[in-house]
Symmetry: C2
Subunit: 553 residues, 2 copies
Amino acid sequence: MNPDIRIIPLGGLGEIGKNMMAIECGDDIIVVDCGVQFPDDTMPGVDLIIPDVSYLVERIDRVRGILITHGHEDHIGALPFVLPQLSVPVYAPRLAHGFISAKLKEHRATRGATVEDIEPGIAYQFGEHMKVTWFRVCHSIPDAMGIAIETPSGVIIHTGDFKIDHTPVDGKTMDLAALAQYGTQGVLMLLSDSTYAEIPGYTTSEKVVGEALDRAIRDAPGRVMVATFASLISRIQLVVDAAARYNRKVSIVGRSMVDSVNVAVELGYLTIPEGILIPLNQSRGLPPEEVVLMTTGSQGEPTSALVRIANKDHREVTIMSGDTVIISATPIPGNELGVSRTIDNLLRQGATVLYDRIALVHVHGHASQEELKMVLSLVRPRYFVPVHGEYRHLMAHARLAWDLGLAESGIFVLEDGDVLQITDEGAEVVGSVPAGPIYIDGLTTHDNRSEVLSQRRSLSQDGVVVIVVNTDKHTGLPSSEPKVVASGFMDAEETVDLFQQLSAALSEEIKGSGHISCQPDELKSKVRETARKFLSSETHRRPIIIPILLGED
Amino acid sequence: MNPDIRIIPLGGLGEIGKNMMAIECGDDIIVVDCGVQFPDDTMPGVDLIIPDVSYLVERIDRVRGILITHGHEDHIGALPFVLPQLSVPVYAPRLAHGFISAKLKEHRATRGATVEDIEPGIAYQFGEHMKVTWFRVCHSIPDAMGIAIETPSGVIIHTGDFKIDHTPVDGKTMDLAALAQYGTQGVLMLLSDSTYAEIPGYTTSEKVVGEALDRAIRDAPGRVMVATFASLISRIQLVVDAAARYNRKVSIVGRSMVDSVNVAVELGYLTIPEGILIPLNQSRGLPPEEVVLMTTGSQGEPTSALVRIANKDHREVTIMSGDTVIISATPIPGNELGVSRTIDNLLRQGATVLYDRIALVHVHGHASQEELKMVLSLVRPRYFVPVHGEYRHLMAHARLAWDLGLAESGIFVLEDGDVLQITDEGAEVVGSVPAGPIYIDGLTTHDNRSEVLSQRRSLSQDGVVVIVVNTDKHTGLPSSEPKVVASGFMDAEETVDLFQQLSAALSEEIKGSGHISCQPDELKSKVRETARKFLSSETHRRPIIIPILLGED
């Protein structure tokens, strides 16, 4: 009898981001990726979201390693937070390794962390039962890989994030031959990227963007600024090449892009001709038609270089008439308004702006339906688990598999925390483990049972009204009129009379209720309730009300 | 010499929503539309945004009327707030009139308001110099019109929102002949809808959606729920017709849709065959394959029917396996995440969900580039002002006009508040008037000089920490340890020690600073500064800090 296999998504299924998948075979556990997610508008003040790894921490002696597919934040970003709790070796492609090292250093989390390079096509043994071979895929970062895991029951293939690009910038195409070979031998399970499973057809090649960028840089009458993702090394390569072709120098603006360019150049993933890269202050001495600036900010992030430039808030760069700004990215859902505001502000200052809606200046890094079908057809797995995506993406991908003739009983749409068990008898979901979001919030963390986020959401709606009641230590009765202070509620001048009336109403109410109110908790809830009713009827607003009793203890 | 003409956008230029345009000719002012805007994530707690009409209020005796193009919120929604300040007659197409009356009643703002029906093709005189004729356009609501204003200097044409649909559901096509005729006679100025000026080609006809809805309703194995905009009467007509065709009954779920269906039926803009419409509770007695529910919630609005159904939070409707949900709308920018969450939650409960990305179940109501060019070509205006849109939409539309050969000196990309003056000598921007957003916030309003919104945004980031210092009335010195209370900051159990330390640190600091701190303002800022530093270094968070001194007055 073969050892049982268990597939446990700890992140990235039913959501975009914080990808992490535990794969168990007998006593051995390997973990694929360890990513972060960025907060949306329902998580105010949160810095980052990471997967809950308590399941792994409890089984630490069985975890053989964290296997990284590529160097994007949503695949490596949680390592600085997870490794201190889960001290196991990390195995990563070379470029991802470079990014991980920089990241661990930045978060002062290098102590005790081991990261090993892997090479595609070489089999690495993990524990007793698993032999893992990374294979090349194409994606919007170089050195992206999928993972094939040989187990006694058969091969499990995890694509990582991928697209099939026959003309990638670095010339390294996806290793479809390896997939075909596994497929011929028989594959137990396929886990495949679902991010773009709703989109018909093929994802356009990066080469097409190269042509558009080349034209734009060639024809630009003045300076060119190109904003893209810091890790989109192939895009940076395209811009550098076009700049060299048209006798322009390139300066990098924005810390994260400077960092990732340094790592990529050092490891040989980015080739910059001698003399092309110059510091920003030097570029200011050149005629505009000889300048290209590469910047961050393609997602409208408030503190990024491009957004500060658009808001006239950047110390070193000001938009001039004749500038061409290329936003070489598509807004990630939730960032649409920020990107739109940035474009508007650049246009208002006289720049020409090229962006995805009006020019082919971006392609994304995920497979569309025809590519997904190609992988499904080559691999012909017995079981299929769509991974990486909102629930609707997983469902769309499941439907594609079903359309290709996979048995419905072999398709599992899992979400974070589900435990899919595969035995010689078959596969079934046997339970679930904790896999909720962990919010990184300054130096603390909280999970979704915490009230902090719902309090913040309430505070943002109508602000806060603080009511201080000074009580007599002996009688428990108020010794003066309650004091009312607010923030984010109404304009201060509008609240002067209102708060006097509220204070009077509170005094009245407390006096009227007699000795009951001597109990601090009762008094607090009376104050809260009275204020809530008063403010709701006078203003139609429902601020958070904080009653504070002094002298109560 | 002809009287000068002044074009003053008071809303909708450089933004989507709250459309309002003042057009002056000599002493006469007419106002086109009076819309609201819905708040985005930078305006927490705001109910609605309306235009600033102070410019008009100061010139009330010159304002001849508010002329409505159609009954959408972003064209009529501000009337209940504006009419009490700006008591002038409103002129509107019949269906818009119906919606306006309902709206004024709902807001108890009927007193003194006059609304008059207009008919297309009839000239109405406004003041001494302006003769106005409404003309039919197509849009995502019936009875939509553009406006032609004859002045001594020539005709000004305002398209309102429009698209050119040769097969609209109500059979009423856009009056291109009227435009052509004005064009032949010579048009002084065109103001034209720019919302979709970035999109190449033609906007698809509503008829195509009808075919997709027909198929979806025909093939659905169980209940069908269709979510769309409450005012999208033509879509509701298509659903009702398909339901009748396949022997289904229709129930309307959601107050705003019930209201708009009532108005549309009463005025004859929606034709519902006898017996098709049944109350929701009655539909529960029918087999699922005989039921259609029309609901609100196509934008993922948290309190809408569809979202409550998706969240298992609707009293009367629960998703059953076999249900088909059709989201017959596209997310408005900013609503993407809400819509996406709603789709995911419906899928999780086993519904089949059809939405814009995977089925042709929606077309929008605005002209794409070829239609915009058609109107520009027919009208051939001397001056052109792109209206209705973000700045980038206006720029894209301006570029189309330029591509068609309009002189650059005749194209004016204006934003809210700009004053464009046209004299016999030519046209130029001569200044600007107040046109910032007015936020409706419960029973009060504030504008963008108010600190309330920035306070709320700060509160939402890291919450609030309140510090109460009880001072001795005579010495001004603290009489006990400061009390610290928080909301939205950190989990309560995590703050017990932290706040004790903070309180001790504050006591220390206040004592150390001696008599200076007897001044309330100085003491407050010392408390705030000390707490800020302490919390920032201990937690890396920067909550709003509210120091309260008791006994100070």
